[in-house]
Subunit: 83 residues, 2 copies
């Protein structure tokens, strides 16, 4: 089995309302040193062994996991795990 | 300025409906090698220099950024960035 982690982040310049909400809340809790907050998501995939794992996951990203218009993504293929 | 990334993931054993939905969708797209999908979030903070950045961010996590009942979190203090 292979573990692959996909990191999806908003592209530079794309508005991040969730990040802004977190920033406002942190300020109201007294964390005034916070200048900016950007949110993203991680998708951890456990995959059966496949010959071309990275290419398959790239394909999953373009078809489902990331929106290429507003998001960037990065694929990390990690060590094999015991099934 | 300091950049800090907080990685928030669901605790082991906590149901991940979003992950299950992604898994079902990937299977319907033909990616049958997918065994399991777990989702998480990343929160990227840009902070003014503060003497105790790591402790402050830990405090932000317990107060706002992560739900200690169902989530684990990890704090990465990265290199200083130009303001």
């Amino acid at each position: 089995m292979k573990k692959v982690i996909v990191h999806v982040t908003l592209k530079e310049g794309v508005l991040d309302p969730q990040g802004q909400t977190i920033e406002t809340s942190l300020h109201s809790l007294g964390f005034t040193e916070v200048e900016e907050v950007r949110t993203g998501k991680t998708i951890e995939l456990l995959l059966d062994n496949h010959d071309n794992v990275e290419a398959r996951v790239q394909d999953m990203c373009t078809k489902l996991l990331a929106n290429p218009v507003i998001e960037d993504y990065r694929v990390n293929v990690e060590e094999a795990v015991q099934s």
